[in-house]
Point group: C2
Chain length 203, copies 2
């Protein structure tokens, strides 16, 4: 039995995600979310008692949404080289037009570190992924230099995320237009895996 009528709760969540991730908790307005959802403010309070509850519902869901695909890449049967390449490409493609998402997450975490609770489980999967096991093995067999997991993962994420969230700055300073910036990101997809590999490979 097909429901033709759309679910208001879903409409609200979609609208709230859009507004909150762009404007942040303090910058978002319940009226704007209602307008975006095509309903009225009262209905927001009917489904989610107040602004904070609605925000929490969004925040707790934003991060976990993106993690499974990344974990899957790290847990595949591919080589380390392929995983690095897939990971970076996926990451960049996912956020190249949504850089406001990582900025939103970083900002809200700094506003209220307790919000981390909903995120750390999602990240746990990266720490314990097959990729990290492969790295450990490479180190044990002498193929790679010893490197702490924290350093390896932070390098990988740093190099992937920052070019995205600093886009406004980068394009201005280096006078790139949209096309040049997208080209820049394509180059990153090759350069980042190379850089990470060079950093761990023994000569």
């Amino acid at each position: 039995m097909v429901k033709t009528k759309v679910d208001s709760e879903e409409l609200i969540l979609d609208a709230a995600r859009k507004v909150f991730t762009r404007k942040g908790m303090t910058g978002a307005r319940m009226q704007e979310i209602a307008d975006e959802a095509g309903i009225n403010k009262a209905l927001l309070h009917y489904y989610f008692r107040n602004k904070k509850q609605l925000f929490d519902a969004i925040f707790d869901d934003v991060f976990p949404r993106f993690i499974p695909a990344l974990i899957q890449i790290l847990n595949s049967d591919n080589s380390i080289e392929e995983k690095l390449s897939h990971f970076v490409s996926h990451y960049i493609d996912e956020f190249s037009h949504k850089a406001y998402i990582p900025v939103f997450i970083l900002n809200e975490i700094h506003q209220n570190p307790e919000r981390l609770a909903s995120m750390s489980m999602a990240i746990e999967g990266m720490k314990t992924s097959r990729f990290m096991v492969q790295i450990s093995e490479g180190i044990e067999t002498g193929l790679y230099h010893p490197i702490k997991p924290a350093h390896l993962l932070s390098n990988l994420i740093s190099l992937s995320v920052f070019p995205l969230i600093s886009q406004p700055l980068l394009t201005r300073v280096f006078q790139m237009d949209d096309k040049e910036y997208m080209q820049f990101l394509e180059e990153k997809k090759k350069l980042i895996p190379e850089l990470i590999l060079e950093s761990i490979k023994r000569n």
Copy 2:
């Protein structure tokens, strides 16, 4: 002639910087700034007509404050190796207890990209620094691989900033206490310059 009386305008600016950089434009409250400054709201409006003008005064000043020291490092007579090391160390020391500053800047730029205007001049100095000239020379003489300035600088900044702004996440995921995190940053001071050098040096 020593003025014993403190300058109210300075008190306000100091307080506003503190509150705005932590809470952001939309999260900050004029009342909180007044309290922090030890004066009342009316005086805020006496010196700065409205919230936006006060915010602009702060924002336009935050970024330029940190740039000259970095430019100076890049323009010194030191070797590339020393410059990289000094740059990263200075960066990390400067922001290890103020990671909310780069988060604030990133967030506000994404809220309103026009704000970039006050920043790009400050960054211009990095692009045209003696460091970048040394890199160009290294490339011309075949000492280094060819690399676009945008990639080199973005790698350097990415690796330096992200470990700072992602501190809450990192420390949680890798279960570091404060001491271990500071140790982690100390290691970064060595690892980042090494990584950057490896990426450009010919074997």
